[in-house]
């Protein structure tokens, strides 16, 4: 069964949602809450800390001082790093999209043996601490390493490769989430009418996917543009970005004036990208004929499918590209596993056995840290689902007035900002603003509460970007039909948006969870309590002398990777079993 009432293709123009009846005050209050709650969350835990931190750079002795702009912009280095930031992030995003769209097709539009494993595998890079990725990548690329002959160590290409390594999953999951529910009959009709596979894809499927592609691309761009560790570990200072420069100015020089100017520059760049992406998205966004995934997803057959006149060359290309991408992705991961098994001159599980003992400057065992990580990530994920779910629901409305549409576009961009603002600014912002915030007599800075909150701030945009394309693709006529049949607005929301959105939630759940598990930006600047999370323990272990600590750090990274893969696979399975029929 498809979601469209009729079998005809979706209406070509955006269908304006007509409120069927006047919303009652109760409904209005509900919507107001749905807007106010996420806004309050964002204001307290993101806007306020960032504003306080950036403000410190512009207020000198109680007076506003913006002379920093002239000074920072007169440095030739500033222009170079802005250019490098855009080049790195732009290139890495383009490559991620080019590789990720075929990946989404293969991994979400088809079934094959081992699909769950591959889907989980591609998500792993997303959570690995950058120090570990540094090891995994650099020990491959370094002179004398397995890929040393490529002479990529310390090059621009190595940075872009690592950024793609991180963001491939962002595109695959973002695009795949919509694609697996796209009704295949429109494309089939085009093919039946004589269109070539490429033409059918280009004129029917791709336009339908455009919002999800733009959505994922903007996410990937933000991740790339604010990547800090990857750039420094793989490229060093010569490929410095706005993000690394903010880090240097803040943590090394305490030059808050320069850091604040750069934060504003970063904000402007990010806002610009969001506006462009938003335009690209909304131009394409419309109700789509959605299908139950089981109808849209076909077994992957590389041989000629019985009953079809020819094999689909696009599918063959997609499979080849995806196989290559997954192999490249697996290379550093395999390297990591191999290195974790190396004990002196022999092979063994010694480092894994040692995970059960504390020591080497870490007072908890890796298993305890893993438990802390899981607990924190559960808190962060629930928080992110609540906040992100509400945001997505609000954003999926289609107000008639232009002012309303603009307000929603603004809200959309606002909730993306946490991905585009430097983790240093946010982390230091927490330190300077969370002591007795708003006059409340509590010190949040060293509270265990702040860690999941900081992680949720980063996970919220992921939830929004995963759930929103699906909600927006719901045909408004479905809601109208429900309303005409007498359903109250709350019931329409529950039975239409709720039922369909819930299926995207599984995907968002895994994504948010992975982001929380791996978050090491803002959290690394928080006054962390005595129960460190796994990435923190890995970071500490790898900074210790001796091959035992190093081996244990690598083994712990493998544990983090496996844990992530398992959780992601579990979330996907959850989705498969609980998403009943609609």
């Amino acid at each position: 069964m498809t979601l469209t009432a009729q079998r005809a293709p979706a209406p070509p123009a955006p269908a304006p949602g007509r409120p069927v009846r006047r919303a009652r005050p109760r409904g209005l209050l509900g919507w107001a809450l749905a807007v106010a709650l996420p806004l309050a969350f964002l204001a307290v835990f993101f806007v306020w800390p960032v504003a306080v931190m950036v403000g410190k750079g512009f207020v000198v002795d109680g007076r506003l001082d913006v002379s920093g702009f002239a000074e920072v912009f007169s440095r030739p280095r500033t222009w170079r790093i802005v250019g490098l930031t855009l080049a790195q992030a732009g290139l890495a995003t383009a490559v991620s999209v080019l590789l990720g769209v075929p990946g989404a097709y293969v991994l979400y539009r088809h079934t094959f043996r081992g699909r769950a494993v591959v889907r989980a595998l591609v998500t792993v890079p997303f959570v690995l601490p950058t120090v570990v990725v540094g090891v995994a990548f650099r020990s491959l690329l370094v002179d004398g390493g397995p890929l040393g002959f490529l002479h990529l160590d310390g090059t621009f290409a190595a940075i872009v490769a690592a950024l793609v390594f991180f963001n491939y999953a962002v595109v695959v999951r973002g695009v795949g989430g919509l694609w697996e529910r796209l009704d295949p009959r429109a494309e089939q009709a085009a093919r039946a009418l004589g269109a070539s596979p490429w033409r059918a894809f280009r004129t029917v499927t791709l336009p339908a996917l455009a919002p999800a592609v733009a959505s994922s691309a903007s996410l990937a761009f933000l991740f790339c543009a604010t990547s800090f560790g990857t750039v420094l570990v793989l490229g060093g200072m010569q490929y410095g970005t706005v993000e690394t420069e903010i880090w240097v100015q803040t943590t090394q020089f305490l030059d808050l004036r320069a850091a604040s100017v750069l934060s504003v520059v970063q904000l402007v760049v990010v806002a610009g990208v969001l506006v462009v992406a938003g335009r690209a998205r909304s131009r394409r966004e419309r109700a789509l004929p959605l299908a139950v995934p089981d109808d849209a997803v076909r077994p992957l057959l590389l041989r000629r499918a019985p009953g079809l006149p020819e094999r689909d060359p696009l599918a063959v290309v997609a499979v080849a590209v995806t196989a290559l991408a997954v192999a490249l992705l697996a290379l550093p991961l395999v390297n990591l596993v191999v290195r974790s098994l190396r004990v002196g001159d022999r092979w063994g599980l010694d480092h894994y056995v040692a995970l059960g003992t504390a020591g080497d400057g870490v007072l908890v065992t890796v298993w305890q840290a893993a438990a802390t990580s899981l607990r924190t990530a559960v808190d962060a994920t629930l928080l992110a689902l609540l906040v992100g779910g509400l945001v997505a629901l609000v954003l999926s409305r289609r107000p008639r007035r232009p002012a309303g549409r603009r307000a929603l576009a603004g809200l959309d961009a606002l909730f993306m900002l946490p991905l585009g603002v430097s983790a240093v600014t946010v982390g230091f912002g927490f330190l300077v603003s969370m002591h007795e915030p708003f006059g409340l007599p509590l010190d949040l800075r060293s509270s265990p509460l702040l860690v999941p909150v900081a992680q949720a701030v980063v996970a919220v945009p992921l939830v929004v970007r995963t759930v929103l394309p699906v909600l927006r693709a719901i045909d408004p006529r479905l809601r109208e039909a429900a309303a005409t049949l007498g359903a109250a607005p709350g019931r329409v929301l529950r039975t239409v948006d709720g039922a369909i959105g819930a299926r995207a939630v599984g995907l968002a759940l895994g994504f948010a969870f992975a982001a929380s598990l791996g978050e090491f930006g803002a959290t690394s600047f928080l006054a962390r309590p005595q129960n460190p999370t796994l990435p923190v323990v890995i970071f500490r272990l790898i900074g210790r002398p001796g091959p035992e600590a190093y081996g244990r750090a690598l083994a712990a990274s493998v544990v983090l990777a496996v844990m992530t893969a398992a959780v992601v696979a579990l979330c996907e399975r959850l989705r498969g079993t609980t998403g009943g029929d609609w």
Partner: protein
């Protein structure tokens, strides 16, 4: 409808904030709190109270040591570690008006004078027996910082590589610019790594105003700059267990004992003691501390024999106390430099930014 939303939004913000607060409570209960205390520094009044130690990521003591302190003094210790050693002092400066805790450990001599100048720490003179030893390292800290441990940042070489390639090992800073050692050296960046910055200071101490020329010569001789110590030592260095290509690395005088292979009794690497810069780590009572007696007691404890003896094994530094014994393998394989290069703390604070900027221009370009 959108305008209606915005009109009611303000009224509902309060309700939203309330709901947020409730959500926060449930979250807090789901997360295990730090053992033994509820707040970082607030509860100093009751039965001994809590003393909050602010320190860097590398701080560690053997299990049970802090419990012994609690038993003896009645103070619970809460440790907060807001990042690495390099950012610690800047975080303290930024939070001066509402300090993160009562006592800091881990301010090193390259940041000491900034901490003192900014008034982050208040004077305290420990009466612990090792305080006399500590005083030998107190240069320029104005009585506000107490030295706890120290160590040397030195160039390390991979003995195995040099004997295998039949090349004599380098010994001095000048040797490193010799064509025989082309493409063999890797150092962590002074901008992103504390030991990296210490090595920059070693060259400043050794070459004076001519240090940029020395780095130009290093660069022309194939210098590799890695991001951090672990990156350089584990990935690029041939003797660090990661099997990298370069046999000369910047590390610590205490690194060689960790490279004794299984079943052997000699390390495969060694430190060049004529290339060292001495790092000293200090503790101090934070200005505005809510538990000053607890902070002072903790500093005394850091100078006690049991902590001093634990420092080499836990933090890989040398204790300031002369009355505790070093581990045997340290005594055998980790001698300290007799005459490390020195740069006065005030000079470092004054020139840090300019030196790092000039280093970046010279080496990174």
């Amino acid at each position: 409808m959108a305008t209606a939303i915005s009109r009611t939004a303000r009224a509902s913000a309060l309700v939203g904030a309330l709901a947020l607060g409730l959500g926060a409570c449930s979250l807090a209960s789901g997360t295990a709190g730090p053992s033994g205390s509820s707040g970082p520094s607030g509860s100093s009044g009751a039965s001994g109270g809590t003393v909050t130690l602010v320190t860097h990521d590398s701080f560690a003591l053997s299990d049970g040591l802090l419990d012994a302190f609690t038993q003896r003094t009645g103070y619970q210790v809460q440790v907060v570690q807001p990042g690495d050693a390099g950012t610690l002092v800047n975080q303290l400066v930024l939070t001066k008006d509402a300090p993160l805790g009562d006592v800091v450990f881990g301010v090193d001599n390259t940041f000491a004078s900034r901490a003192v100048d900014e008034g982050v720490v208040q004077p305290y003179t420990s009466s612990a027996p090792a305080a006399k030893d500590a005083a030998a390292y107190a240069a320029g800290t104005g009585g506000s910082l107490t030295a706890v441990d120290y160590g040397d940042v030195c160039i390390n070489v991979d003995h195995a590589w040099f004997s295998e390639h039949d090349v004599p090992e380098p010994a001095t800073l000048d040797d490193l610019t010799d064509a025989r050692y082309k493409d063999l050296l890797v150092v962590p960046s002074p901008v992103t790594s504390s030991p990296g910055f210490a090595f920059l200071l070693a060259t400043v101490g050794a070459k004076g105003d001519a240090w940029p020329q020395y780095w130009t010569a290093l660069k022309e001789n194939g210098l590799k700059v890695a991001e951090g110590w672990s990156d350089a030592y584990s990935t690029d260095f041939s003797g660090g267990g990661g099997g990298g290509p370069r046999p000369i690395v910047l590390s610590y005088a205490s690194s060689p004992p960790f490279t004794v292979p299984e079943g052997a009794d000699e390390p495969t690497t060694g430190a060049l003691l004529d290339t060292c810069f001495r790092q000293v780590e200090y503790a101090g009572v934070l200005t505005g501390a809510s538990n000053v007696p607890g902070a002072e007691a903790l500093i005394d404890f850091l100078l006690s024999d049991e902590v001093q003896a634990d420092i080499p094994g836990s933090m890989y530094m040398y204790p300031v106390s002369t009355s505790v014994e070093l581990p045997q393998e340290w005594a055998d394989w980790a001698p300290l430099a007799t005459d490390p290069f020195d740069v006065p703390a005030a000079e470092i604070t004054k020139n840090r930014e300019q030196w790092l900027t000039q280093w970046s221009q010279t080496v990174v370009g």
